[in-house]
């Protein structure tokens, strides 16, 4: 009963309290380097702090009492499984294996824990015989019999709970106040698939999944270097989510890593369901439409970022990996820019930047020109537009708002709609945003084209979260263009530029290679220079670690 009280009390307690040593939580942390399968590394790994339990209750020597306490903590949850067994290695002593169904690999438990224990007598009778103390004999069991990747002794009730929650199989022994946690994390996960949101034509077609273990592995498989460092921690009082900070030692600026680490450590929240939770805590500025952290579902893009001196944050349960620090122009770079030839890559990059500004400004420009600056149009175009507007009941600003909002609604509906009704939305959308609206006399044909082109332009940018900035600022621009014409557009633009100039991402100015101007970095900003000429990494990388390759044109190439 005391255990239950502890658990309840701790939920209200602040996490800032001292972290008591809970060995079992090391079960997951250690797996990155658990390739050896040697059980002896249990104490070496520093366990990631769970950060929610303040107390430590020792386990009792009674198996029944321990099992009861654990069950009470779980309020007799149905997925907590307990299997009583006995082992030849410990004759006459009852054992119990506990695990949470669904987050463990039951097959692995059977093969690596249960079967070896039951067969232990026959396998190694000599080593387990004798009158050693029970504790030593359990230690022997842990080291020699249980064959999962990682095992660890557990001495507290809280440790036992954590071990169970992280997917370990907990072995209780009658008469011992020490349990053994054997790592057996498993359960159903999604297979590595193709990217769905950030697609490329040429290049790797892997995408991150929800499993952090897989995701880190995907990155590791690209960067086979010991300089790739993974720092894991657990964030979330209830979800206890594994959050890993990845960086390339020697390439990344140590100050940036220190800052990222500090920001991650400062996070104290209830739950982490997606990397978006983490992003909102570690970004530099919340009140801006511009993202200061990049997210990617592509291992190759994450690897490229790491190699350019960014750090990555992998959050368990999210197929989107965060990259930081990022600058404004980083959002216009598609991983494909580096896979395609440099000429088309440069052209496409310019198109993207242009499309971004078009998607931000086009409706505002249309409003401003047609209601304030008609003299800017060629005469024939003016007459054409004027003819279209005959009979349109609304001012251009209202017309534009009507159409833009219609499109936003359609777009949102398209995302939320069950897939089965999907085709309906395109039919309705074509009607609402098409000639039907024109023929009904609600809007002019030119406005339909403007809205459609704006919408298309918005999807050109490879990073959807910077496109959102354009989407939001567009409405601001439209209003100010409707009130002040070009003067309004320019004033909003000035505000945006001033705002951008004041943004930082982990201490790096947001407009970096442009303002402040960085010599040499323009090779990979608006255009992409040939690969062999990109000798140095971006300036965010560590000083002295920026040289990528010896450089120079390949000898065979002439002219």
């Amino acid at each position: 009963m005391s255990g239950a009280q502890n658990g309840n009390g701790s939920a209200e307690n602040s996490a800032s309290g001292s972290q008591s040593h809970r060995g079992a939580s090391g079960g997951k942390d250690g797996k990155g380097r658990a390739g050896s399968g040697n059980g002896g590394n249990g104490g070496a790994a520093k366990p990631p702090p769970l950060g929610r339990r303040k107390t430590a209750t020792a386990l009792s020597p009674s198996l029944a009492a321990n099992a009861h306490a654990i069950r009470m903590q779980f309020h007799h949850s149905g997925d907590l499984r307990l299997r009583l067994l006995s082992s030849g290695a410990l004759p006459g002593i009852q054992l119990a294996a506990l695990y949470l169904q669904g987050i463990v690999d039951e097959e692995a438990i059977r093969k690596n824990v249960l079967e070896p224990l039951q067969a232990a007598e026959a396998a190694a009778p000599g080593s387990l015989k004798g009158k050693g103390r029970l504790k030593d004999r359990i230690e022997q069991l842990r080291l020699n019999v249980i064959s999962t990747g990682l095992t660890e002794p557990v001495r507290t009730l809280e440790g036992a709970l954590d071990a169970l929650l992280l997917g370990c199989c907990l072995l209780l022994v009658e008469g011992s106040d020490e349990a053994v946690a054997a790592e057996a994390a498993g359960g159903e996960t999604r297979q590595v698939g193709e990217p769905t949101a950030q697609t490329v034509i040429r290049g790797p077609q892997h995408a991150f999944t929800e499993s952090a273990r897989t995701n880190i592995g995907l990155i590791r498989r690209i960067i086979r270097s010991e300089r790739l460092t993974v720092e894991s921690r657990r964030i979330g009082r209830e979800t206890c989510t594994e959050v890993s900070l990845l960086y390339m030692n020697g390439i990344v600026d140590a100050e940036i890593v220190k800052e990222a680490r500090r920001r991650l450590d400062d996070i104290d929240i209830d739950s982490v369901l997606d990397s978006g939770y983490i992003e909102e805590f570690i970004q530099d500025s919340s009140f801006t439409p511009f993202p200061t952290v990049l997210n990617t579902e592509r291992p190759d893009q994450a690897a490229a970022g790491l190699l350019e001196g960014h750090f990555a944050v992998v959050v368990d349960g999210s197929p989107y990996v965060l990259l930081g620090p990022v600058t404004f122009f980083r959002f216009f770079q598609s991983p494909e820019d580096h896979y395609q030839r440099f000429d088309i890559a440069s052209f496409l990059r310019l198109i993207r930047i242009a499309a971004f500004f078009i998607s931000m400004h086009l409706p505002a420009l249309y409003i401003a020109i047609t209601t304030f600056h008609q003299e800017m149009l060629p005469s024939n175009l003016l007459i054409g537009l004027s003819a279209q507007r005959e009979g349109v009941p609304f001012p251009a600003l209202v017309e534009a708002f009507l159409m833009e909002l219609t499109f936003e609604v359609l777009r949102e509906a398209g995302v939320r709609m069950p897939r089965a009704i999907g085709p309906a939305i395109s039919i309705v959308g074509a009607l609402v945003l098409g000639t039907a609206a024109v023929q009904a006399g609600l809007v002019s044909a030119a406005m339909v084209i403007i809205v459609a082109f704006t919408a298309i332009s918005n999807f050109v940018v490879p990073q959807i979260n910077i496109a959102i900035a354009a989407r939001l600022i567009r409405f601001l621009l439209m209003v100010s263009a409707g009130i002040l014409g070009f003067v309004g557009i320019i004033s909003v633009d000035l505000f945006v530029i001033i705002h951008l100039a004041g943004l930082y991402s982990f201490g790096v100015p947001y407009l970096k290679p442009v303002a402040p101007y960085v010599k040499g970095e323009w090779k990979d900003t608006f255009v992409r220079a040939p690969r062999w000429s990109l000798v140095r990494r971006p300036v965010i990388a560590q000083k002295g670690g920026r040289r990528r390759q010896p450089g120079g044109k390949p000898k065979r190439q002439n002219s």
């Binding site: 007459i383 003819a387 009979g391 349109v392 251009a396 009130i483 014409g485 003067v487």
Partner: protein, 412 residues
């Protein structure tokens, strides 16, 4: 959230809201509130009032939503207002027009002869003073009234006002008899040291009535056409007279403002002008000099020519024949220049800008003669014009057809 921060944000919001009444909302004009004017006509009535005519574009008649243009509706509407002053007349338009007149796309102003002779100072002032009318509008002068020109429909063109600008631009490029004159350049010349300018004349030629109805487009020929002809000369702010088309061309040559023109020339002096060539790259160097009491203009004209049509005898393999053609071309150019010069001297308006050359060369003397240049010195000025035309292309045959036919007969 301290009170100070709230206060600051509230102040910022208030400041932003203050922008709204400050803003240019009153400049806001939806496209369907505009009456787009394509051309303006300026006349003076019998009572001496200004009569301004407008060519109002009817967009729906020109560009239809469904991709075809209506042929039954007139693309433009012409109406006039009268007033004591130019803008006074324009402001009367609100009494009969449901839309506000929009001059931003007005490209042509046609001035009736009577209005031009009365003086266009008021009109020019309107263009200088107001931001909503462009100084780049093209000026035409017409004998008689300006309004019929605006009413005239041009074949193939929906908006005749725009068509007039294309007409004169093409004339400058290929015809070489006139050049576009904008209000701006006219102002430059009239307010410059010479106080003289010119504007191309425009008239309705043809037998019948003016083409005022779209029904006229149903027949293959129109009874009348708009045509560029003659040049109106202005001194100070009023028109002083007309000179003829080829005289206008001569003056343009003197100013090196011709990009290409086709001229006819005879085989020998005094003969019929049966050959033609295109003059390009014409360049004139004007050297004014004192000659006794008066002035002498020495002008050197250099030009290239391409032979278009040649019916004389001789073979163009022979350099002497080529030199003969060049001489004939030179004579034609010289006579046009001389005619133009004499005509402008007769009207006492130095529109060729010779005074400008005098002013540059003799700045001190110019101060003394500037006031009397147009009235006294310019009309009495002598001119020595040397022309050299180089024939750079003779085309793909050397002999004329006549020569070739004669040669073939001899061979028999």
């Amino acid at each position: 959230m301290s009170r100070g921060i709230i206060r600051r944000w509230a102040l910022l919001l208030a400041a932003a809201l203050l922008f709204l009444p400050l803003a240019g909302c009153w400049d806001r004009k939806e496209l369907n509130e505009l009456g787009i004017i394509a051309a303006t006509g300026i006349d003076v009535t019998e009572e001496g009032k200004w009569k301004i005519s407008y060519q109002l574009v009817i967009p729906s008649a020109i560009s239809s939503q469904n991709g075809f243009t209506s042929t039954t509706e007139s693309p433009v509407n012409v109406f006039s207002t009268e007033g004591e002053s130019v803008r006074g007349a324009v402001s009367r338009a609100t009494q009969e027009m449901s839309r506000s007149l929009y001059f931003g796309h007005n490209q042509v102003v046609v001035i009736g002869e009577r209005a031009a002779r009365k003086g266009i100072g008021g009109l020019l002032d309107v263009y200088l003073r107001n931001g909503n009318s462009r100084e780049t509008v093209m000026v035409f002068v017409t004998e008689g009234e300006a309004r019929p020109i605006l009413e005239q429909l041009l074949p193939m063109e929906r908006i005749s006002g725009n068509a007039l600008t294309r007409l004169i631009a093409l004339e400058k490029e290929s015809g070489g008899n006139f050049r576009p004159q904008t209000v701006y350049s006219m102002l430059l010349q009239l307010l410059g040291p010479l106080h003289a300018s010119a504007a191309p004349g425009i008239a309705i030629n043809g037998s019948g009535e003016g083409v005022r109805s779209v029904d006229a487009n149903k027949s293959t020929s129109t009874p009348s056409k708009v045509r560029l002809q003659k040049l109106a000369l202005f001194r100070d702010d009023h028109m002083i007279g007309w000179i003829r088309t080829h005289e206008s061309r001569g003056l343009l040559w003197l100013r090196s403002e011709v990009s290409g023109t086709t001229i006819s020339f005879p085989c020998r002096e005094g003969g019929p002008k049966v050959n033609s060539a295109r003059i390009t790259g014409l360049k004139t160097k004007m050297k004014p000099a004192r000659s006794g009491d008066g002035w002498l203009l020495q002008a050197d004209v250099e030009a290239d020519a391409t032979l278009f049509e040649y019916t004389c005898g001789g073979n163009l393999h022979d350099p002497a024949a080529v030199a003969g053609i060049e001489r004939m071309l030179g004579q034609q150019v010289r006579s046009d220049i001389e005619d133009g010069l004499q005509a402008s001297q007769r009207l006492k308006a130095d529109v060729a800008g010779i005074g400008e050359a005098v002013r540059r060369k003799y700045p001190h003397t110019w101060k003394g003669i500037a006031a009397e240049w147009n009235s006294r010195f310019y009309p009495e000025m002598k001119a020595e014009i040397g022309v050299h035309v180089g024939l750079i292309k003779t085309g793909r045959s050397n002999r004329s057809y006549e020569q070739a036919s004669e040669d073939s007969r001899e061979r028999k």
